[in-house]
Amino acid sequence: MALATLWRLTARGPVQNGLAPRLGQRGVSKWAFVGRIQDATQPPPPGMTVLPNELYPYTRQTRRCGVLGRKAGMMSMIDEATGYHFGVTVVLVERCHVLMHIDHRAQNTTKRWNMQIGAGFRRPHLTKKPLRFHCAKAGVETKEKLIEFTVSDDALVPVGTRIGAEHFVVGQKVDVLGTSKGKGFQGVVKRWGFSGQPATHGSKTHRAPGSIGSFGRKGKVAKGTKMAGRMGGDSIGVFGLKIVRVDPKKSVLFIKGCIPGPNGGWVRITDSAKNYKILAATGGPYPPVPTCLEPVEDRYGSMYDDMTVDPPAEDEIALGHTQVISGADAEDFSNCHHEVAFGAEAEDMRSRRMEYIVYDNGQMDSAAQEKNDLKFQSQTDDII
């Protein structure tokens, strides 16, 4: 509220509602985060609160959100029709959920909403509290990575929705951004492709850069001259890669071609800008806008089909390897690692091969509930 009053007191006169002040202007801090302040005259788009019943049409102006995945490796596939043999990268779409909508309509030139997506899983006891509560507010498990996508109004998805591999469609093209493998400090021949000097015939240097300038260039070395240095570890984009196969149950994408980064590295996958033209010409299946409305329950990116897990038997419970705690008794969790699961994820965790403690919140009596509320009241106030 204080920030809003300051806007009106600037030396240049009153500021209109809806226009963000220039940061650094008198009375406005340079570090003020103005992105969240919403324009009260415009209502939020409908896609923010509820998914539509039918998919919206895919137009030239549509801009969907993307997905964060992890590169699992490469394999080869053979096209049955032609016998053509090509390489394919396998990308695991690991636990992507929508966490937040950010209003950048006043800031960026495209005047659009941004959607923040969280991916991966990080053990809660290793995550910092602000991130834990940020994820809990969206109703999801603690995430490892957060990224933003600029999104058009018809591609907005409500907070907490899962975005899986079915978000993409076979035959469409994607852009992939990843961090390339680090090569360390490398010389000029490997880093920039210089040819070096001869190996024999009296030459004393072999892999040196040679000349780095001439007297005519003001007697100094120009900025940006290619030299030896650290190579790799950059954000590299590969554009226009085709999706060959989508496996929604295991949340896996098969992308034709190569992708930057090592196996296990994070990659950011978005629709390619070439899609509309290509798909309009072929009449091929368009990607679902805002997202696939029939989400497939997967094991959150678990690839191991043979790893079927049974819940612990009654003998194990009696031996004390697992404990079942219910009601108000389960207050002392100091000895345990804690994972937080919500809804369907809880059912999934029960079936894994792990020792666990089950604490069923539904049976809590009112006194214990009040005690719990008081315990966390001060913490929940911070995020609101």
Binding site: G73, I78, V90, E94, N263, E339, V358, N361, N372
Partner: protein
């Protein structure tokens, strides 16, 4: 540390080491099993082999048979290959086949040979009776 929201089940793990999905080479192996053929005969170097290839010409499909000797084999799960050498009208022809390709309908082993090499590239410099290989019966 745990968070309680309305009527949600909370599960606390003691052993959280097995929880995160790790990217291992087993992922690719498990996927490749879907595409790999399970009914292949055992192929070894020196085998005389008939390869039944599916050839598509427009809408028509026909099966072409190539017979020859396996002179090289490369084991790499889905992209395993064999190199088959044959003599067509006085011209030596070698062809590399992807063994798990859907275009290979069948591979039939006619004769096995006793060879003391992993690769029989020396046959390229020989012709006629010198290219005969001793038969193996086991």
């Amino acid at each position: 540390m745990y968070v309680i929201l309305n009527n949600l089940t909370i599960i606390a793990n003691i052993d959280s080491m097995n929880f995160s999905t790790s990217i291992s080479p087993k992922i690719i192996e498990n996927i490749e099993k879907q595409y790999a053929k399970s009914d292949l005969p055992s192929l070894s170097i020196g085998d005389t082999v008939k390869v039944y290839l599916l050839i598509k010409e427009g809408n028509k499909e026909r099966v072409q048979v190539n017979q020859g000797v396996i002179i090289a084999k490369n084991n790499s799960q889905l992209t395993s290959t064999i190199t088959v050498r044959s003599n067509l009208q006085g011209v030596g022809v070698e062809r590399v086949y992807l063994v798990h390709s859907p275009l290979i309908k069948n591979i039939e082993v006619l004769r096995r040979s006793k060879v003391r090499r992993a690769k029989l590239y020396y046959l390229r410099g020989l012709s006629g009776k010198a290219t005969r290989l001793k038969q193996r019966f086991n």
